[in-house]
Structure formats: structure tokens, C-alpha cells
Amino acid sequence: MIKAEWFYWLVGLSFLVMAAQMVTDRSNPKRFGTGAFWGLIGAGFIYSSWVVTKQAPAEPLGAAVLVMAVLAGFGFTGRGTPRTTTPEERTASAARLGNKLFVPALTIPVVAMACAIGVKHLSIGGEPVLQTGSETILGLGLGAVVALVVGMVLLREKRLSVPVQSGRTMLEAMGWAMLLPQMLATLGAIFQVSGVGGQVGKLATAVLPKDSLYVAVVVYCVGMFAFTLIMGNAFAAFPVMTAAVGWPVLIGHFHGNPAAVLALGMLAGFCGTLVTPMAANFNIVPAALLELKDQYGPIKAQLPTAGILLGCNIVIMALFAF
């Protein structure tokens, strides 16, 4: 059985190798801090396997995570001069290779699709080929590995150090943004245990009127939207807002169609995901990945759409769910 943990180890291992490259990169004025940051993430990825199964204590990893935050937050990380090709070389290489270049790039989605559709259902000797529940991660991981092999064969690139160097350059360019989604997931978990959700829910229900049907619909949808803004995740907002307004008022008191109310409520939350920096993996990481100067660029591009769609969800719910 192919397991998700293998790919976490692979990511951890490549971070460690890249960290070693970073430390020896004299063009980076902050090479030690940068190397320490990525080395810790890499080691953390591997150590986590035992934390998940509760065979190792989580506290050392937590301390390491805080060290990462300090390294990145107080400016101990930087980037070196990328050793790569010039724009002219790239144009010439593109002219020489032509559309062959797309083959490895498209290998990733094709393999991911094959895993999602076909391999998912395969099993050998009663054991599924892909670990159940992790098919999407495995599809992406297998796709990337196969694509790397296809790419190196196709480009006749024999040195494995070339893709590793290229990947490292991208990591350095993205910097700490890369760790933010995991940090936010942690914050979400802490919010949950500390009862932040319940408090916000209480506050929302105490402040907002919900005596008429239409007001209640607006309260539920806007509440999902606003709560998602704070938590960065509609999944965290959903149980709270549904327990406070969605179920007792909209479904219990006004006899709404449960499927319609709940599905549209969740989608109203997704509108919030589009406009919050707390959803870093969707909004902040892409800004870093695309090398934008304005880290809120994607959010600004999505803001009007999010507002209009929130309105759409409210109208659809009010008209068709009751």
C-alpha cells in the first residue's frame, strides 16, 4: 500500500537537502537562518509521523514550530542569488524543445486524475494500492514524482541537483508564507479547544435579531461569512453558526429545507474564505508563489466576486429553501 506518510518524508527529506544547499550558499547574506528555518521544517515533517501516531511527544515539535516563527518573523531568513538560466537561454531552449515541455507539466494532473478515477479502486491481495482517505495527496505526490522522472528523461538532464536547486530557489522566493497555512491550522485548533467558537456564536446570536425569516437568513449567511473571515475556514464556522441559528431558527422554527439551508450556508462561508488572509493556503501562498509584490493581490481580485456571491446565496436561500 502506498502511504501518505512516504510523501511527507519525501517532502521533509527534500527540505533537509535544500536547507544544506542554503547553508552553503554564500550569495545569501542570511544563509544560516534560512538553512535553519527550512531544516527545521524538513525535520518536523519527518518527526510528525510519530506525533500523529502518538509514539513521540508533540512538545518538542511545538517548540521547533515557535523557533521557526521567530526565525522568519524577526528577519533571520533571506534568499540567495538564484543560479538559473537567463531569459535568452530560456527562449532558445523553449524554441528547441517546443511543446515537449508541456509533457512533464501535464503529467502531474494526468497522474492525479488517474489516481482519483482508477487507481483509487485498485487493490492487490485485498489491500488497496493507495492508502484510503489520502487519495488526493497521493495523486499529487505520485504525479510530481512521475513528472520529475519524465522531465529529466525528456530534457536529458542527468543531474538530480538541478531540479533540487530550482525547487530551492522557489522555496526561498516564497519564504515564510509557506509555513503560514500550517500555523493557521494550529491556531484554528487552539481556538476550538479554548472555546472561541462558542463565544463568537453567543455574541452573534445575542447581538443580531432573528425574529423574521428574511432577517434570520441574512444572519445565518452573513454570520457564516464573518465567522469564516475570523477563523480562515468555513468548516470551523459551520458547526457554530448552524447550532446557533441554522438549525434551531431556520430549520426548526421556519421549517426550511435542511439540505438547502445547510448547503447554502456552507457556500456563504466559502465567500468568506475568498477574502481572508487567514485562509493563507488559498490567498497568501499563491501571492508568494506568483511573486506578487502585494500579498493581498488575490484577495483584492476576489473581493467583488465574494460579495456578489454572498448576496446570491442569501437570495437563493430566501426564495427556494422555505
Partner: protein
Amino acid sequence: MIVLLGVLVVVIGFATKRNALLVVAAAGIITGLLGGLSPAKVLAAFGEGFAGSRAVTIFAITLPVIGLLERYGLQEQARTLIARFGRLTTGRFLALYLGLRQIGAAVGLTNVFGHAQTVRPLAVPMAEGAAERRYGQLPARTREKIRSFAAGADNVGLFFGEDVFLAVGSILLITGFVNTTYGTHLEPLHLALWAIPTALCAFVVHGWRLLRLDRFLERELLAADTHPTTAEGADR
């Protein structure tokens, strides 16, 4: 009530543009301690949070191959390819991407597209290439705008496509939560059906905004055209 201080830290931190990692770490520590966790429990929460959320960083596995291909001119080739489709403007191309992304997500192929695997290496150079064909060299500000919209097309397509698929996390969360809490028997199929109207709205609204991006580019870049320094590239 006092645990809400952590939320306040986050809001102020983001609003004053402090380093987000520090803001989030501080908010986590404050909330945890105010919520009655011991310092060791707070540390453990950070460790468990990191370990349990590695899936969001798994896309890093694609970076070496994407970097390798970019080194050999993938982005340049993507620009060349889009230039052959004369009618495909930046907005139309991104609207097409939005549609594909939505359909892909709606049939459960959420990881087939993504910021690392398709937006950066393919969609962005194509969207920029389509604009460059019409207007020549793009100013940095325009590039930012196109890239932001490319990232947005991916997000909108994913969010408002995936709920049409039955076995997606959010649908299972709804049925799981409601069926255990209220003892109902809500079917994933009904939830997925109710996601379709919003999915259509999302395509129309965001698709329309992407098409308007063409008009914006035209206004912005043809106005700049009268400026002597940028005029030469526009003839291409």
C-alpha cells in the same frame, strides 16, 4: 469572553501588517493560555497542529519539477503557444480556466489543478502572453493584476465546484455534523444538488468579471500607449 483577545491580536496584527507567522503564533499562545491550557499543552498544540496539517504543504513536492521545467523555458513556451490562438484574450482564457477548474472540482478532481501545478507554470504565462500579444511588454502593475486574477480564478473555480461533488470534505462535514447532532438522515446527494445554483452564479459572476478584465487592460494599456516609452512594444 476573554479568549476573544486572541482574535483581536490576529485582526490587529494583520491590519498593521506585522509578520503573519509571529501574529498567528502570538495569538495561539495567548488564546491557549487564556483558555486554560498549560504552557506544555500549548506547545503540544503547536506540535500536533503542525503534524496534522502537513497536507496543505504537500504541494511543495511539485516545486522541483516545475522549477526544472521553468529553467528549460516552460513559461516562454506557454506564451508562444497562447499566441497561436488569436481570439483567446486574457479574460477569455481565464474564464475558460475557471470553467475547467469548476468542472474538474465538481467531478472530484480537486488536485488536478492548483496554484503550484497549473497556475504558476501554465495559466499565468498564458494569461500574460495573451495580453503581451495585444499590448507588448506589460508594466509590472498590470502583471500583478493578471496574476492576482489567475489565482482568483483557481480559487473561485475550486470553492464553487467542489461542493457539487458528493464525497468532498465540506459535504461530509455537513452530513456528519447534522446527522450525529440532530439525529437526521441527510443525504449527501441533496446537499450537492443545492450547491449547483451557486456554482452557476459563481461561473457567471466571476466569468463576467474576467471578461471585464480585458476591457480594463485595454483602457489601461492603450492609454499608456500614448506615452513614448511604452509605445514601441504595442505595435507587435
